[in-house]
């Protein structure tokens, strides 16, 4: 898909995109309506009980923490929280659904009418777009099926399937946006931003690869300037942010080509094939859906008081956007760096602890180390921030050593590598390796005098205008001092002697 092609289409047509995002509340201990553990994977049917298997006579009891997590998500996204709400049954038969109804929410979701401001693009082209959030409701996830005898584990062509209910009953929140999204990039940024918020709330690990965050999209196009909406297609199976972007780009161009050729878009569900880089229609169902929603009689309704909602609101952590703005305002970090740190909760915590230890005036170099050496180290080792062997205190001490001129920046990188390896504090490493940088003006001055005396020709050239030679002189002094001189001091002393 050529990017130009999408841009060309978007000049003539406006895309109208709404997202439906399912997120498993993976940080909870137990399932939505029973005490089975919430974990990923495991041997089939080993985390099940009469409730999540839909055995005769078993009854659901809602998980308080799941209700609170949903309301927390709603508050983070500026939603109105329902004062009265309840679960409904959504009735349809499917083998991964043990009761053949899903306990979900219908006309009374916990959260509605929210929004999320999404920053799209970089630099001069950057803009902010507000995406409305229609609703956020709580429901239960289905089991999983393994399709045997077909190609690549797909349903089509499979001989039979195996059903595992370990995932069945995992708490799931469904977020539905207004059709406010206009480009694939906006959709991607929305999903990414939402992920950073859910991570900050600590309600889910939001893994698109493992399916704990699943994004479906409704897409239609209309000629620029038109008011009436086009027929939409639903696109599913986008297992990464890139897939979300690419699938939408493909779908928009596909619909435009169809309309350009005089055809019509059909309302249908389409499956994104990441390998083939295209969407294809799923075989349509034999019957129209009739979910026969009715209030779940096994549970009683919810009534939330102002006090209760206020107590949940108290638990809202600082969200990534606010945190980023604080880093820019308080620490003077560049916006881009501030965002990279703020969106990663563990990294942000590390950063703030290191800044606490090093002092706020060193926040910028701390940020540079966090985004530079530390991130590279994490990438290389695959370790998490909390368990990578480097503590905020270690990094803070390293930054202070550089700032005080005890070691050079180059030396600091060596120290970083060694502390990552050994777990020793940087000061101890500097001491042990005799790396202490010489800042004593007297000692440096002696060497400077010696070097200038040994190179009269270069001194002559410098004084006749080749001021660029200063660097060469610094190099000579540093070599004499085996690299342990403070380059700033060397520079200063050299200039005093050369410019006199």
């Amino acid at each position: 898909m050529a990017k130009d092609r999408l841009n060309e289409v978007l000049e003539r047509y406006e895309a109208v995109i709404g997202l439906e995002i399912h997120t498993e509340l993976t940080s909870l201990n137990s399932k939505m309506f029973c005490g089975c553990p919430v974990e990923f994977g495991g041997e089939p049917n080993t985390r099940v009980c009469p409730v999540c298997l839909g055995m005769p006579g078993a009854l659901p009891v809602p998980n308080q923490a799941a209700v609170e997590a949903t309301v927390l998500a709603g508050l983070a996204l500026e939603c109105e929280i329902a004062r009265f709400s309840q679960f409904h049954r959504k009735n349809y038969f499917y083998p991964d659904m043990p009761k053949n109804y899903q306990i979900s929410q219908y006309d009374l979701p916990f959260c509605a009418h929210g929004h999320l401001d999404v920053e799209v693009g970089e630099g001069d082209a950057a803009y902010v777009t507000r995406i409305g959030i229609t609703r956020i409701h709580l429901e239960e996830d289905t089991g999983k099926m393994i399709h045997v005898g077909g190609s690549e584990g797909r349903i089509a062509g499979a001989d039979h399937s195996l059903v595992d209910f370990n995932r069945a009953g995992t708490p799931l929140i469904e977020l539905v946006t207004e059709p406010d999204i206009r480009t694939p990039e906006e959709a991607r940024r929305f999903a990414q931003t939402l992920r950073t918020i859910f991570l900050a709330l600590g309600i889910s690990d939001c893994s698109m690869e493992e399916g704990s965050m699943r994004v479906d999209a409704n897409v239609s196009i209309r000629p620029r300037g038109a008011v009436e909406l086009g027929t939409k297609a639903e696109v599913k199976n986008m297992n990464s942010f890139k897939a979300l972007h690419d699938a939408l780009a493909y779908e928009i161009v596909r619909q435009a080509d169809l309309v350009d050729a005089g055809g019509r878009v059909v309302q249908e569900t389409r499956h994104w094939d990441a390998a083939a880089k295209r969407t294809s229609a799923l075989r349509s169902k034999e019957e129209a859906h009739d979910y026969r929603y009715f209030p779940e009689p096994d549970m009683v309704p919810f009534e939330f008081t102002e006090e209760w909602i206020a107590a949940i609101r108290e638990r809202l952590p600082e969200l990534p956007a606010a945190r980023r703005d604080r880093y820019v305002q308080t620490f003077g970090l560049p916006k881009h760096d501030a965002r990279l740190i703020a969106e990663d909760v563990p990294l942000a915590q590390f950063f703030e602890q290191a800044v606490d230890a090093a002092g706020a005036k060193l926040a910028k170099p701390v940020a540079n180390w966090v985004l530079g050496e530390l991130s590279a180290h994490l990438n290389a080792t695959g370790a998490a921030v909390g368990s990578c062997g480097i503590t905020p205190e270690m990094l803070a001490e390293l930054v202070v050593l550089v700032d005080e001129g005890t070691i050079s920046g180059k030396q600091a990188k060596e120290v970083f590598a060694e502390m990552a390896e050994s777990g020793d504090m940087p000061a101890a490493i500097v001491e042990r390796r005799g790396m202490r940088q010489v800042s004593d003006t007297g000692a440096i001055e002696a060497v400077v005098v010696k070097v200038l005396a040994e190179h009269p020709a270069e001194v002559e050239s410098y004084r006749s205008g080749k001021s660029g030679l200063i660097g060469w002189f610094v190099g000579q002094v540093m070599r004499e001092m085996r690299g342990q001189a403070n380059p700033a001091v060397v520079n200063e002393v050299l200039k005093q002697h050369l410019d006199q």
Binding site: C34, V48, C49, N63, A65, M145, D164, R283, V300, E303
Partner: protein
């Protein structure tokens, strides 16, 4: 309240019941007669009356987020008509959406 044979067939599909033609004929008559009887409530003036889903007005009943022991796999599969590798076996799925 008349209900037609085609209504009955549609409802039977929703309810996943393979009915014989004879069953469809009988049910059309029986359901019509029952619906005819129960339709009398449609003549009640219920404007402004709140629906009752629960006979007792309780609110906010939840459980704490605590793990409890579940079923052993053996017991989970005890009644399975067909099981394989610890999973329930189903025949192929035709004409349905793939899972998201």
């Amino acid at each position: 309240m008349a209900i037609s044979e085609s209504d009955v067939r549609h409802v039977a599909l929703l309810a996943r019941l393979a009915l014989t033609d004879e069953q469809v004929r009988h049910l059309t008559v029986e359901l019509s007669s029952i619906l005819d009887h129960v339709s009398e409530i449609q003549s009640l003036d219920l404007a402004g009356v709140e629906p009752t889903a629960h006979p007792f007005p309780m609110r906010n009943v939840t459980r704490p987020d605590v793990v409890r022991p579940g079923l052993s796999r053996e017991r989970a599969l005890l009644n399975a008509p067909e099981a394989e590798d610890g999973a329930f076996v189903i025949p192929r799925i035709v004409g349905a959406e793939e899972e998201a």
